[in-house]
């Protein structure tokens, strides 16, 4: 590849046959990511996709970058080693709702808490795809699956809420098919220094088809989706509805906007830096009549882990002589000469 020619989305595709089920939402995400790479002018040799195990975690095989398909749930841990070893690499973690929130929940929590500079794309299909359809930690109560033939009873985890609780400083959401918005969101995630948590609603056509249809269905989208933009009023339904805060109960509510006067209606302006508002936004449930918050929900950067580690390494080494011989001879030593003892 010539460094001068800008790369096209297709230049980020490998020669490997893509092995997802026909119609799987993963295809769209792959397309969106490849497009993002091209638009960002990403350098393939500097980009690493690290995944766990799951349908979604097959992703790295299809990206003409560096890639590591690791073991179930451990991608964030592995990525931490990669990034600490070489902070110049651009690290993308690919995970699923099972990989990242079930077996891998702990690593997810700690990579967010530590704020490793990386992008975490969580493909949420609310199901275990690869193992043939068991319910996952994000599956809704009552989900019938091979392992819950009578319906699941556990309360689902809300990825964004969990990420915030773990200390995430960047939260975004997108839908697999939202190709228009996806590159923009991924670019924001990439630009964010620190751990960026991006939840992607992904349709599993085989085991959980249309589970998100309630809010992803194109025709209803204006009424079921709230696309956020920092500094802009939180409007949807073609500007006829907006999100306001009930300060007493500290809850969000839908207000009607008359003649575009959203201020009068009490619609709040989206403030990406507001952590509490982010918590309220990620918690909005479509089935409770609220629109689903999409786009960049929260961003409030802080120093990143690998940066701090590197800085400390450098600081600690400052002024010290790196002399291995001296190191092993440290402490109290004595010399034995010609098989006779001489104290030094």
């Amino acid at each position: 590849m010539n460094d001068m020619t800008p790369l096209k989305p297709n230049d980020f595709a490998t020669d490997q046959e893509v092995r997802w089920c026909p119609g799987c939402g993963d295809y769209a995400i792959l397309k969106g990511v490849q497009r993002t790479m091209a638009e960002m002018g990403a350098r393939p040799e500097n980009t690493v996709f690290i995944s766990g195990i799951g349908c979604s975690s097959r992703f790295p095989y299809y990206m003409e970058t560096y890639g590591f398909h690791t073991i179930h749930g451990r991608a964030p841990a592995l990525a931490t080693g990669v990034k600490l070893a070489n902070p110049d690499l651009d690290v993308w973690i690919i995970t699923g709702d099972g990989d990242g929130l079930s077996i891998g929940g702990n690593h997810m929590m700690h990579v967010l808490r530590r704020n490793l500079d990386c992008q975490i794309l969580l493909f949420n299909n609310e199901i275990y795809g690869l193992t043939k359809g068991q319910y996952s930690p994000t599956s809704r109560e009552g989900t019938r699956s091979p392992s819950t033939p009578y319906g699941s009873v556990d309360h689902p985890a809300e990825p964004g809420t969990f990420a915030l609780g773990s200390g995430a400083r960047f939260i975004a959401r997108c839908i697999d098919t939202a190709q228009k918005q996806m590159p923009g969101i991924l670019k924001r995630a990439h630009a964010h220094k620190g751990a960026s948590f991006v939840e992607l609603y992904q349709n599993c056509i085989v085991y959980n088809d249309d589970v998100f249809a309630g809010f992803t269905e194109k025709k209803q989208a204006p009424f079921t989706q709230l696309w956020l933009e920092h500094g802009q009023p939180m409007l949807f339904a073609n500007g006829e509805k907006g999100i306001a805060l009930d300060a007493d109960t500290l809850s969000l509510k839908i207000v009607h906007v008359v003649d575009g006067d959203w201020e009068a209606a009490g619609v709040r302006v989206h403030d990406e830096k507001n952590r509490v508002m982010a918590g309220l936004l990620v918690a909005m449930r479509h089935n409770e009549g609220m629109p689903v918050a999409l786009g960049v929900i929260y961003e409030d950067p802080a120093p990143s882990f690998e940066e701090d580690v590197r800085t400390q390494n450098v600081e600690a080494a400052k002024g010290k002589v790196v002399d291995l011989e001296a190191l092993i001879k440290k402490g109290q030593t004595w010399e034995v000469n010609q098989k006779k003892l001489r104290e030094v």
């Binding site: 490997q16 790295p60 890639g67 690791t70 451990r74 841990a77 080693g81 070489n86 109290q332």
Partner: protein, 631 residues
Amino acid sequence: MQGGPIREQERTEPMATKLKETTAHAEQREAVTVRFAGDSGDGMQLTGGQFTQSTALAGSDLATFPDFPAEIRAPQGTTFGVSAFQINFGSEAIETAGDAPDILVAMNPAALKTNLAALKPGGLIIADTGEFGARNLKKAGYEESPLETDELKDYQLVAFDISAQTLESVKEFGLGNKEALRSKNMWTLGLVLWMFDRDRQPIVDWLNAKFLKKPEIAAANIAALNAGHAYGETAEVQQGLGRYQVGAAETEPGLYRTVTGGESLALGLVAGASLVDLPMFFGSYPITPASPLLHTLSRLKEFGVTTFQAEDEIAAICSAIGASYAGQLGVTSSSGPGIALKGEAMGLAVMTELPLVIVNSQRGGPSTGLPTKTEQSDLYQALYGRNGDAPMPVIAARSPVDAFDCAIEACRIAVEYMTPVMLLTDGYIGNAAEPWRVPSIDDYEHRPARHYEGEPVSPYSRDEKLARVWIKPGTPGLMHRIGGIEKNYETGNIDYAPANHQKMTDTRQAKVEGVADSIPDQDFEIGGPGDDMLVVGWGSTYGPIHQAVKRARAGGANVAQLHIRHLWPFPKNLGMLLRGFDKILVPEMNTGQLKTVLRDQFLVDAQPLNKVSGQPFKIAEIEAAIAEMLG
């Protein structure tokens, strides 16, 4: 001096008798074992450490065995709060901390209670009567003071009020009672230094350095040290204290220091990474007795070491694999339960053929087991504890000093063969100290790792050793994908085809077996082919086996010794050597794990000698087993 203790002793008939018998002078000894035992708060490890230093400076060979309580800070005076430090030193090669102490320093009743059984019959007890009050006696489970009954009649007893002596000696510094009593250990050390005619200056220097910012504490400790020493000189005759002469050992010329296994391991890893020209990434999660490695390495950032305390052992090994993938030398470390958690990820390292060093500081098992005790029961786990056929080189250190070379060797193999390597050590080696002739780094071969750069190749293309290329992310034009699914032999792409899996399985096995081409032939430690019997060991049993075989030979037995560092693959000639013997004894601190491997690999009738008590072998135990096998 308040005299109390002497009075106490005067009251008791048997004691007085004994005292008279034991006023010998500067006895010449080939080797002596001393055990310092006291409450965890009494500073016994420090005392032991300084006495070790002093012994080393005196030129004796030595080995130590620190024996900590399991509790962080057990309540004072309890038996489970006793901390002990044993040192064996002599003019001959010393390789164990000694089967049974000649001298026991017991700073309180609990220390006496828990350590008496180990003492040699007729051995010397030095006890601080100041601590033998009713409360402490009760805590230790004594109804009466053993100093005043005839419980100790088979030993030499020297009991006096060390506490009072110490208070007296530091009185001028105006410390509080508690603070002042902290110097008890230095007072005692002074006394013992006198017994062995040692120079106090190095310890004075060390105290001054240690308490640089608290000169009054330094001064008090030095005063106590001197007072203890003076007490020996003056009290000698009345108290029945012996004086011993232990000569210097015959030693290779060179620069020496004492080193614990923990230190030596850390230094070896730093050296190992340096010899392959790689920055080291150390991912770990604290666990006894492995944590000191994390502690030591986290202070060595200037040597290109990045340490990462992960959220758990799985994250620790995965981060190390990630670092290796990115081009550094990934190292991870834990002990039994933590290593168990790493099994799945080790398989990933096997499959992706990345260099990785996994250190296992073994402790007593199974499960949480005996965290502070030693054992070598993780050999099975090291060799076999992964799903699928996942071969991995395994090497084990035999002593504190040996850990240095083993660490270097582990790094070499990992990088040269693109493979995870398991390095076994144990709680005993980690804490024990011995004199070390400090090598020069130039004595070791420098074999820089190479990250491939150049024309595109398959990520699974191999060199003549079957090691695959190491292409690190960031290298232009060589983008590729790896992972835990079986890969095509040629292309490195996912491949489930039967013949390919067979080929890759064979290749992984052949690669690891090929490591044998790069290691030295197995040697006998003592004896050889003509002998009637062979004792085979690995790891920290080296010392007691060596001594036992030496003694057995001195007693006329034709017994040879062989000690294995490379546990997988074995040195190529090992089978040949073993097959020369009908009688093979394998002493292990487990239920017979190496024995399994030897019998499997070489079909020799290796017989186990097992000890699973959390304690190292005694020389005598192995000697007895040799005698029994020889019939």
